[in-house]
Symmetry: none
Subunit: 215 residues, 4 copies
DNA sequence: AATGAATGAGTCTTCATTCAT
DNA sequence: AATGAATGAAGACTCATTCAT
């Protein structure tokens, strides 16, 4: 045990939550949300079903009504997170932008804005516990590659249209966004202490893209 | 048990290991090495003292002769890893290089070569379990910042000497190396499957630095 | 293991005990009863949760459903034993007795009768392990003192009414009952072998009180 | 674990005690002394060989050079304590006193003075752990009885000589000293908090003996 | 669907004891 | 005689999972 835990015990004060009957879908979602918080906070092994149940406000036993094992919760969670392609969503809009500088600004802002606590939690879980779900990782990688290809195609178009200057970066545009991962890792490791650094990084990033892509 | 276990059963071909008596320093080192492997493989909570002991080839009890708790092993391990500044070591040599293109090639090669399995293990542990040792993280961050400052000074010198072209990158040189972290994360998450991608990234990285720094 | 153990081996004639579900109150009581026996027999440290669980006929784990630690069992046990004031209960009745000789006989008989195996167990635990629960000891001592004061008051009344002869004993009546503690200790140390001795003691005690208190 | 323990570890500051070679007799005595302190403080099971070794200032291993097991230490200790007959020792002198009041005063003072911390430690151990050494207990009881017989004979002589008043107490003189055991138990359970009470008891005890024995 | 008592297989840690030095 | 590294057998406590209600 690393830290002390407050004893639970029904406790006077926390009115014994009466049985609330919810539809399976709702409960499952509640459980997955709680699991995301706990798994990314302490990791899979250090998270107990009791913690998840408590966060949802239900009994341990009830968790097993909705999932057959802790592992299943984890897998379902990661699978449901395949919708991480939010950043990609933005792309469809960005593609249409005629103005390259505006596109770059949008891209930078959107990318760094995507480093939400939830996204960081997912990244931490992926790095820390991804090995538990190799199948899902493979799927992600594929999705990643195809998304990347689409974005590359969009860039190629811009270059062909003479709106972007060709260079190593337009030839391998995915590389242009790697600093965002650095920013994410910095926040994962150093937390708030990294905020200032990340901001400075973002501006350097922005300037470089402008310098390198502007035709 | 989340992961598979294999040979356990006290015996099964392994002759009753004779008592081997080693000096505390040697045993401690052995234990720390085993711990690094196990912790980075499964994480702190999912690693049992039994696994570490088995990897070293000693009894569980003996682990406690050398460390007073699992936690102490972890902390000692991370502390002993403060020597991660290998990359920085290279720098002193790089500084002296008069030839900027050679400097860049050295930098790129050294940086990506530093992504050894051991270094990756440390990174994974830091991301996954760093919160267990806030004190050590703070120390690392400081060391990081001062190392970064030194490197920046070296770059500034080159710029002042007219050997490097000034730009957003020379003003904030740390940023130039962030793709290496992406490469590390890619390997952590996708393993060997990321190798090809990382190689391509490395070459793009190299080209960009040449383009941006060459005066 | 200092003492002998006996039947353990999960099975050996004891059919796989069916899950018996009981209310927490009942189980807690069962556990406390078993704990009293075991703690007073071997002491706190030498008693294992397994012994207690086995005596109750439940699994070790179940003990922790009802108590959060071995220590809590011990404390709860001693606290619940604060009702040791049985002897005092008798007093209310004795006070009303008009007849001093009868009062003395009742007192002696009740006092020695209170040396039940359970009471002896409590005494042993108190002597051997009382230091673990200083708070409870303090409470006991207070209760003791107030009980003692009440009894002294009753005696004072008898003396004032001329029904008892004044003397060092009536001035400090608590002292009159100290031989009972000797009897208790004798039984604790020598067990049944002390029975005869205790009986003789009891009669001497009775005679002396008659001699000293009869006006 | 009830209380926290300071980590040992060779520790800088406590100069690594150099090997001191002592004769077996001396070491055995040292170990037994340390064992008495520790056993009576925490009980047999809660006392570790390490604690005893540390108190003596030797290594755990060395303890086993002098005793073959923890149990043997305990048994040897209790056996060596058979010399508890210090109080009896006094008797030989008291017998010779011609003056009954002086005899009584001596008896009271000597008896209560015998409640040294060491004697209390022995009593606690006997009550708490006596069952571990039934053989020794039996021996003690015998010794006790014969000592008691001697003292009774001395009293009988005094009575026959008309120097003491006959009564239930002279007929069963052992009973006269039972309050001392109460005093001992009070100290064991309540520690210093019982001191005042014990003093008062002692004086009542003295007065009563004077009253009952004075012819 | 929900609860929570019950279980059993671990997990960390301690400790009496052994043994090479 | 002395040391201290090494071991193996517990022991307290945790937790995923089951099941009667």
């Amino acid at each position: 045990m690393t830290a002390k835990k407050a004893k639970k015990k029904p406790q006077a004060g926390s009115e014994t939550r009466k049985r609330t009957r919810l539809s399976p879908e709702v409960r499952r979602k509640q459980i997955l949300e709680a699991a995301l918080v706990e798994f990314s906070r302490q990791g899979f092994a250090a998270t107990s079903i009791a913690m998840i149940a408590e966060r949802v406000g239900i009994s341990k036993g009830n968790v097993y009504v909705h999932f057959s094992s802790k592992n299943e919760i984890f897998e379902t969670l990661l699978e449901s997170l395949s919708s991480v392609g939010k950043a990609q969503g933005n792309w469809s809009r960005l593609e249409t932008a005629q103005d390259v500088p505006a596109f770059i600004d949008n891209l930078i802002d959107a990318s760094y804005a995507s480093l939400t606590p939830e996204a960081l939690a997912v990244l931490r879980m992926t790095i820390a516990e991804g090995h538990r779900v190799p199948g899902i990782l493979a799927k992600w990688q594929e999705a990643n590659l195809s998304g990347r290809a689409n974005r590359q195609a969009a860039i190629d178009e811009q270059v062909a249209a003479g709106r972007m200057k060709r260079g190593p970066l337009t030839d391998h545009f995915h590389f242009a966004m790697t600093p965002v991962v650095y920013a994410a890792v910095a926040r994962l490791v150093f937390g708030e202490a990294a905020a200032e650094d990340v901001d400075r990084m973002k501006e350097t990033h922005r300037k470089l893209l402008h310098q390198l892509l502007r035709s």
